[in-house]
Amino acid sequence: MQTIWFMLVAVMIAVYVVLDGFDLGAGIVQLLVARTDGERRQVLRSIGPVWDGNEVWLLAGGGTLYFAFPALYASSFSGFYLPLMMVLWLLILRGISIEFRNHIDSLVWKPFWDAVFGGASALLAIFFGAALGNVVRGVPLDNAGEFFLPLWTNFGVGGDVGILDWYTVLVAVAAFATLLVHGALWVALKTDGALGERASGVARTGWWGVAVLTVAITWCSFRIQPRLGESFGARPWGYVFPLLAVAGLIGMRALHRAGLAPFLCSSLFIVGMLTSAAFGLYPYVLPSNLDPRAGLTVSNAAAAPYGLKVGLVWFIPGMLLTVGYFVYTYRSFAGKVPAEDEGY
């Protein structure tokens, strides 16, 4: 039961990163590829009807984490207090920059919000990457399974760590590159003409960065978190997850002219990387970097069995409905975004 919820939460987080990942990526990419107000609007229109729904995966994922693993939610949210608060501020800035930009037509108003949108998106990608790095590295949990991390200490990965160390920064950079390419592929998919071409170009160049960083973080992760090697050694079928990531990475490059395919490959790459991390850490949900046997696991962080059982009864139909809304919404807004279209 706890393992089922572990998988469900992991899937929700992965879906969040894939969906809101392209919103964030689009935010970064518009700074690079959109040159006129019309092009900026086109990028915004490509995510306008969906970004808020995509962000809900974070909220619903957080809520699901809260109810299925209350001890993990409590420990990690209070322990990562400062970066989480900054993520909240960045989410605020990202959200209002999308919604506010087009209400006033002015040469100071719009560029300001474009810059805020790009900057907040970039920093969010970096923060999410650092968060992943922290979870993989582990945190100094005390006897009550609690901790508090400063933003940085000595940038080392052992003992008295901070949120930022050389490893988490590396993962953050990799996340930034990944979402940049992911967003560029989204923009390339949803727009045509010069804008789409430029976005494709960014994706092709950025791919090299993603490839190099993927190799680097993979190597470092296995060095820093021995648990990963043990998991894959004990259950070799788990190699299917990294294989998905590799297939996605290669596909992004090989199929770069084939419509929807590169974007799907990029999504596959993200899902593969995140599920590899989840598989590698399991049964830990938040390892300790001090004592390999301490750490929060699916069993010591989970809610009581009754709640988890009842939860499945409403969760499954609820998520089926959700998938229905998303399929409907994405189909309604399928196809390229025209240069000019109805707004509100």
Partner: protein, 439 residues
């Protein structure tokens, strides 16, 4: 200030600011369905423009609600980790259900509602509008269900280490506290929406611009406002008051400023609670009315604060007393304002009656104050408990988040929300200035 005080202020400040927006979202969502229905039934472009105009304001307001709402869900973990760890298995249910059942619905169909009028056709667009309304009201339900459980915990058992375990899912959703609190809250939201709509309409009529729209907004706002203001008082306010009387009697005594147990207790209209001397200064009271309202008997005994040990008294009695009295006082004024406007509307004179239009326009901020005061009454009234009778506020806080770190982020939120408030007012004024004609 100690860490606990800052953590409390942190939540109080962010939730108070947040709730400015959802109350209009929920109230306006209902009125949008009304306008959209009129558009569908008449086929008149006038109503479609009216919907598009309010949809633009709705979108700004909704975005503000979303971005200020995310910090609320996160703060349970960041600032109240001990509470979350103990009670997460219970209230995590309703919070996760809010995400799964209402946020997805609301956000998906808001996108379709705002961007898809041509794609969906009139009926499809009406349906998208309706689902946005449904999603926002469901969201209110799950949040009030969460709060209702903290006010009146039901359906739980205590585990071996004192952790709080869910034992009955249905008890959680059918909490007797929940029904009245939810309906009372939703009527409060409709009051805000109705006053906002009639105020914008009155503004247009007063400045003699967009007058056909002004008349529509005033008519819809006044009718909805009168109905909601009445329902606010009875039966929902009455039902909520009885919940408090039966389940939180010490809170009732503090709200009413009743320090001494009395048979035939009076209802204080005005006065200042003097906790040091255990008395109400400068009181203006209706004799025996509190006994009657609570128990329907003029001579019934109502327990005052002296009937309870001081360590279960709400820890800020003046705040509780004033917020409750502001809420009730304003609620009464709302009925009077809307009744007057409705009378003039019925007599066919409202649209030219400038004094009443001024009154409607200037009333717009007050429902926000009343709703805020109502929530302060609920939350300050729950003190000193985080979960009433079960967990004290002081033990729920995150032990490792220091006062300095909490103050840092509180100041950050204050700064950011000040800027957000200014931008919000600027944009809403800008949209009102553009008007429905341009929609």
């Amino acid at each position: 200030m100690d860490a606990l005080t800052i953590h409390r202020l942190h939540f109080a400040f962010t939730v108070t600011f947040h709730y400015i927006f959802p109350q209009l979202t929920m109230g306006l969502a209902l009125l949008l369905v009304v306008l959209k229905t009129m558009a569908l039934r008449t086929g008149d472009e006038h109503y479609s423009r009216a919907v598009r105009f309010w949809a633009r304001i709705f979108a700004i307001n909704f975005a503000m609600g979303v971005v200020t709402g995310i910090p609320m869900e996160f703060q349970f973990g960041t600032n109240w980790s001990r509470f979350s760890k103990s009670a997460g298995g219970v209230i995590g249910q309703t919070l996760a259900m809010e995400g799964v059942f209402s946020f997805f619905l609301e956000s998906s169909f808001l996108g379709l509602f705002l961007f898809g009028e041509k794609r969906l056709g009139p009926k499809g667009h009406w349906f998208a509008c309706f689902l946005v309304f449904l999603g926002s009201w469901l969201s209110g339900f799950f949040i009030v269900a969460t709060d209702a459980w903290m006010q009146h915990p039901v359906g739980y058992a205590l585990g071996p280490q004192g952790e709080i375990l869910l034992s009955s899912f249905w008890a959680l959703l059918l909490n007797p506290w929940l029904l009245w609190q939810y309906l009372h809250n939703m009527m409060g939201a409709v009051v805000t929406g109705a006053f906002a709509m009639s105020a914008v309409g009155a503004f247009y009529l007063l400045v003699k611009r967009q007058e056909p729209y002004g008349r529509t907004f005033v008519r819809v706002g006044v009718i909805a406002g009168l109905a909601a203001a009445f329902l606010m008082l009875f039966p929902t306010g009455d039902g909520q008051g009885k919940n408090i009387a039966f389940h939180q009697p010490a809170t009732l005594a503090a709200m009413e400023g009743l320090f001494v147990t009395e048979a035939g207790a009076p209802l204080a209209l005005i006065g200042q609670p003097d906790v040091e001397h255990r008395q109400l200064d400068n009181p203006l009271q209706i004799p025996r009315a509190l006994s009657f309202l609570t128990y329907q008997r003029w001579k019934a005994q109502v327990r005052g604060l002296d009937a309870f040990p001081q360590d279960v008294w709400p820890d800020n009695i003046p705040l509780l007393y004033f917020s409750y009295h502001i809420m009730v006082g304003l609620g009464t004024i709302f009925i009077a304002v809307m009744a007057l406007a409705a009378l003039e509307l019925w007599r066919g004179r409202l649209f030219t009656e400038r004094k009443v239009l001024w009154l409607l326009m200037l009333s717009a901020p007050f429902p926000y104050i009343a709703n805020t005061a109502g929530w302060i009454t609920a939350e300050a009234g729950r003190q000193p408990w985080l979960i009433y009778g079960l967990m004290r506020t002081a033990v729920g806080v995150s032990p490792h988040v220091s006062a300095g770190n909490a103050l840092f982020t509180l100041i950050g939120f204050m700064g950011m929300y000040t800027v957000l408030a200014m931008l919000f007012l600027l944009l809403v004024y800008h949209e009102i200035d553009r008007g429905p004609e341009a929609a």
